[in-house]
Structures are given as C-alpha cells and as structure tokens.
C-alpha cells in the first residue's frame, strides 16, 4: 500500500470508525483545507504552539522557540521531533506526508532568523515516517 493510501486509511479509521474520545467532535471536520507549501503547513499545524513569530510561549511549561534554536541546525532532529514527538510535542506521522514534513522543516530552518542552507526532501523523511498503530483509546 502506498503511504498516501495508508494515511488516507488511517484518517478514515480515526475519523469514521472509532470516535470514542470525549474530545473528539465526531464525524465532522473531515475535510480541512490543504496546505500549499511549508509556510502554510507552519501556519496550519505549528503556530498554535510555536506561535506566529516562532518564539514559542510559556505557561505551566513551555513551548520551545524555533527562532534562533540551535537544535534545528540539525535537520534530522527537526524531522525526528515532527515524526515521533516527545513530551508536549505530538507526532505528526499520521497527519503529514514525508513531502509535507520536508517542506515545513525547510520553512522553519530558513525563517524566524534561521538560515540553514541544507534543504531536506521527502526521501530524508521517509525512513522515520511510520505512523503508529491506531487505537481506540
């Protein structure tokens, strides 16, 4: 099965077959707008936590700044965090394709004061891109 089909299936399963979480709206919301490029993906997926200016935010814990964050100098680190998640950072392996992850990594690494020249492609993402097994609860 191609990855896109897998993604579509995962979306179908989570959207239609098993709505059991209290915070799940049910069958609605199944057709969100499609992001066109890395900037769009950032705006539609990332800026809720990392903020429009990439500076993150502080509450009881903190969402780290992407602006001037030396860690994302290593593209593989950024890819890993998006695909696998950790702590407050959710994984996006079930919602973004490898090409989309590459696009947004390239966007983040060339904006918010970052200027890393080594762009990544979907091929760099694929080895880490395995969506987790879906579960009901």
């Amino acid at each position: 099965m191609t990855r896109l089909k897998t993604l579509a299936l995962a979306a179908l399963v989570s959207a239609f077959a098993l709505p059991a979480f209290a915070d799940e709206p049910g069958p609605g919301g199944s057709k969100p707008p499609k992001p066109k490029d890395g900037a769009d993906i950032y705006r539609m997926y990332c800026q809720v936590c990392h903020m429009a200016d990439g500076k993150g935010a502080v509450g009881a814990g903190a969402f780290p700044a992407l602006a001037s964050n030396a860690r994302i100098g290593t593209a593989q680190y950024a890819i890993y965090m998006i695909e696998k998640g950790k702590g407050g950072m959710p994984y996006f392996s079930d919602s973004l394709s490898p090409a989309q992850v590459a696009d947004v990594v390239n966007y983040i690494r060339t904006h918010f004061g970052n200027d890393y020249k080594d762009a990544v492609t979907a091929k760099d993402v694929e080895p880490m891109a395995k969506p987790p097994t879906q579960a009901r609860r």
């Binding site: 057709k31 936590c49 935010a57 009881a60 702590g87 879906q134």
Partner: protein, 530 residues
C-alpha cells in the same frame, strides 16, 4: 420442562457462576445479561485502617486530585493539594460573562455572555454509564439535566454532497437505511446473500428489513407516506379539510452516501455517545465546585510545581507562589501527582528512567471550542432544532445547540466550533478574532439568513494554548499503551500518577476518577506496609 426440575432463576445462576469462577466470570456473565455496564466503578474506595496523620500531598486540584484528597482525608490521612490555577476543577471548567482568559502567546479575551449563558470549553456531556462521576455528582449535590445528544432534526453538511446544501439527519438516515434494506432484500431473493438462514428465517429477515427500512409491500424503498414518516413529509399531516399529508421526494443514493451520513449514524452508536447523556445544571464547573466544597480548605492555589523528588523518608515538592512570588518546599510521606503529562514532562523529578520515558511518550490532543452568543434562538424558532448537533466536514466540525432554557427569549450561546485534528491546529493557531470569523463563515451554512445577523459576541478556547495544561487530553495508541502504560500507572515507591491520562477512559472525567480511585487504593496499601 421436566416435572420437578426448574430452570434456575437469573439470580441463582449468577450466584452459582460467582462461586465457580469468581468475580471476573460473574462480571462477564452480568454483561451477557445486560446488567453490568460500560464503566467499571468499583464503588468508593475502602481505605480502612489508615495510620492517622500519615501525610499525602496531591498535585493538581482537578477531579482526580480532589477525589484523591477527599477520600484520603476521609480515611484519616493528612492531606494538602497544590494547584497551579487560582480555581479548582482543572479542565472541568465553565466560562461565563465577565470571565477573562489569557492564552499562551498573550491573547486575552473577556467573555461578554449575558447572565445565565455559558460555554463549557472542556467536558460538556456525561454518558449515563459513567457511574463514578454520577455517584459523586449525587453525593455532592450536583444537579444534572439531560444533554440532548441525538437530534434527528439537526443537519448534516458535506461540501461534496447536495451541492453543499445541508440536509436533515433524519432524511439522510432514512434514505440510507431504506436503500440498505431494499438492497439486502434483493440479495436474499437472488440467493446472493451468503447466509446460513433457513428459508423460513429468510422470510422473517425480509419482513424485518421491510419494517426497519420503511419498505412498501413490494419491498421497495419508495416515495410514499411510509418513507416520509421517517425522513420527513413534503407537507406534514394536518387537521380539517386540507389535513392530508404529502410525501417527500427521496434523495439520490449517491448523494446520500457522499454526505457521510453513515459516519454520523455510527457516531451515535458508540457506547460513550449513546443517549441518555447529562450535563450539570448551570455549567460543567458545578462538578468541580461540588468537589471543591469538600476539599477547598486543603488547596493552596497559584502554586507552580517546579520540582518533585522522593527518597526513603518521603516526598518533597518545590513550588513557586505565582502571586506572592518566592519558592516554597512542601514535604509529605506520599504523593498523588495529577499534573498533565504535557507539563509534568517539563518538571524536574527523580522518577525512574522508565517512568520518565512514559511521561514523555503520550501526546495530547488539540481541541478548539468556540462559543457564539446569538440574539435569539433562531435554530429553535425557525428550524425546530432543540439541542443536539449539526455536523459539517468543515474544520469547525459541528454546531451544537444549547440544552436548556428552551423557548426562552433573549440571547443564547451555541457551540460554534468543536475542532480537532488538522482543524484544531489550524483554528488554534489563529487569533481569537480570526477564530470567531472562521466559526461564523463555516457555521452559517446551517443558518444562512440568521447566523451573522444575530451574532453578538464570542469566545474561543484552543486547548494547546491553555497555560495550565498545554493540550486537551492524553492520546494513547496501541504502541504506547504496550510500551508505556503500565510503567506510567505503576506506583513508584511513594509517588503515584493519576488522571485521565492514567486510564483507558481517556479524555473523560470518568477516566480521571477511576484512575484516582485505583491510584489511592494502591497508595493506601503501600502506606500500610510502610
């Protein structure tokens, strides 16, 4: 039946099974009989024999923390609670006129709702089988009223069906079921139904399909008064001279399928979304307030925990006083930690590596809710919708109508968005003003002439940006359950975690309470051994 021998009564049978197989078998059998239901509430915990004055510090004054404090104190423990916010309840929360909220990133909203109106940003409906929550609501005097979960007359909207026009749930469901019944009936006639049914059973099955699918004498789903009695009439029955009803046209089957109605029907089948559902009268936070009445004197508010350490003698918790400033260290023999994992994963602890890995392994979901206050109840007055939800495939997911004060004049608040997944991230990333505009633009599809005209004000909560939780609730999957769940819930010497994240009833208040009962029961056992 043979004379002298009787079929055992159900109670006799249950008793016998209980003796033979113990409680597990008994429970399973009761489930078979339809007696036991979904939530596994064991009854309030039995913490008898506590060493008087043994101390427990509880982190977090949400439902899990307050339940733990209430039951532990009742058992004789010396208990105190540290809470980050200046109010009890945690995600059990209600916003009313005058409330001011500041989200991460700094955007501030002041709620403008009229008196009596509210938004429940977090939990908003309670399944009838969430026994633990219902038990404590009753015990603490929290009045509940019906939550209208299922409304046949609300809408389903899909941008890819019916040219984007919403249709009533009942019409789509009727046509879906009618077509399924007719097709199945044909399959039986053509012997193409792979079934072990006898000829007689097949006839019975066909008759059942006719009844259920509103088919006519020829087993056809057709435009007539019978199908209209399910899907709605063109002209409903009336009185007098022109009282005769007129049937309505059926929808084309391909459009019915495209509308996604099957997913809507399946949603209502789920055990946690079946009627009857409840809500507290006056807002969801009545539950948190009910718990707080019991334990408020134990709570230190505005306490931001920065460090959680344990050794052979006890637990020490370091926190910052967010109002007065300054750092304080509190000591206790044991600790129940209900801090959400998003936050706990950033607090310094000396918990084991495995426990720490578990704490970091569970992402949180991202719901966004938007409350819109409208000048009048146009959904009731113009469209006969009393409570329930209209679903859309747009990012807002649904519009949900208030379940109280029916027929009342004056402003009412509806839920203008309940977004998750991509839509939740997208709406959450907007400014509060942009969120309201998106909710109006998408929601007006259901109420085109009334929505914007009656809009007065609105408020939005993007759970990712709520400073004290930084997410909505824990999202496990099969892999993380396998690898980390037991590690997360395990009592580690003097510290035990509790909350919805430490349950299989994730995101539900019931999960947080069940987790709490289980955690304090184990902690009590550990304390007795100390």
């Amino acid at each position: 039946m043979e004379s002298g021998r009787q079929t055992p009564t159900r109670r006799q049978l249950l008793h016998a099974i209980g003796l033979m197989g113990g409680t597990a078998a008994l429970y399973q059998m009761m489930t078979t009989f339809g007696h036991a239901a979904e939530s596994r509430f064991p009854g309030p915990p039995n913490l008898a024999g506590a060493r008087k004055g043994a101390s427990v510090i509880v982190l977090g004054a949400g439902l899990a923390g307050m339940l733990a404090a209430y039951e532990l104190e009742k058992a004789g423990y010396s208990v105190r609670i540290l809470e980050y916010q200046n109010r009890p309840g945690g995600r059990n929360w209600t916003l009313r006129g005058g409330d001011k909220i500041t989200e991460m990133g700094g955007a501030t909203q002041t709620v403008q709702f009229a008196k009596g109106n509210y938004l429940n940003p977090g939990p908003w409906r309670i399944p009838h089988h969430h026994h633990t929550l219902l038990h404590y609501c009753k015990k603490f005097g929290v009045a509940l009223e019906p939550f209208i979960q299922f409304n046949h007359n609300a809408y389903v909207h899909n941008t890819d069906a019916f040219g984007g026009a919403p249709q009533r749930f009942r019409s789509l469901a009727a046509d879906f079921e009618g077509n399924v019944a007719e097709l199945l009936s044909k399959a039986i006639d053509q012997k193409s139904l792979d079934t072990k049914l006898t000829a007689e059973d097949q006839d019975k099955f066909k008759e059942a399909l006719r009844t259920w699918g509103m088919l006519d004498e020829d087993m056809k789903y057709a435009k007539n008064l019978r199908s209209s009695s399910h899907r709605g009439f063109e002209l409903p029955p009336g009185g007098g001279v022109n009282g005769a009803p007129k049937p309505s046209d059926l929808f084309p089957l391909n459009e019915v399928v495209k509308s996604g109605i099957a997913a809507n029907m399946a949603f209502f089948m789920n055990d946690e979304f079946q009627t009857t559902m409840f809500q507290p009268v006056g807002g969801m936070d009545m539950i948190g307030k009910g718990f707080a009445k019991q334990v408020d004197r134990l709570i230190t508010y505005n306490a931001k925990v920065t460090k959680l350490m344990q050794d052979k003698k006890g637990v020490s918790v370091t926190y910052t006083d967010l109002v007065k400033g300054g750092t304080v260290t509190a000591e206790a023999e044991f600790c129940v930690c209900t801090i959400p994992l998003t936050v706990l994963s950033q607090i310094e602890t000396n918990l084991s590596e495995k426990k720490t890995a578990a704490i970091q392994a569970v992402p949180y979901s991202n719901s966004v809710k938007i409350g819109l206050e409208m000048r009048r109840r146009f959904w009731e007055e113009d469209q006969d919708i009393y409570g329930g939800h209209s679903f859309t495939n747009q990012e807002i997911s649904l519009v949900s109508y208030p379940n109280f004060d029916f027929f009342k004049d004056g402003p009412a608040v509806l839920l203008g968005a309940f977004a998750g997944g991509p839509g939740g991230y997208h709406l959450g990333g907007m400014t509060p003003e942009q969120r309201i505009e998106a909710a109006l633009a998408q929601g007006e599809v259901f109420h085109p002439n009334a929505y914007r005209k009656n809009f007065m004000n609105g408020v939005s909560v993007a759970w990712n940006r709520v400073p004290w939780v930084m997410g909505c609730c824990a999202r496990w999957n099969e892999d993380t359950r396998k690898e980390h769940y037991q590690e997360l819930v395990a009592l580690e010497d003097r510290i035990v975690l509790a909350g919805e994240h430490a349950s299989y009833v994730g995101c539900w208040m019931e999960g947080s309470l069940l987790s709490s009962i289980d955690a304090i029961t184990r902690l009590h056992k550990r304390a007795l051994e100390a």
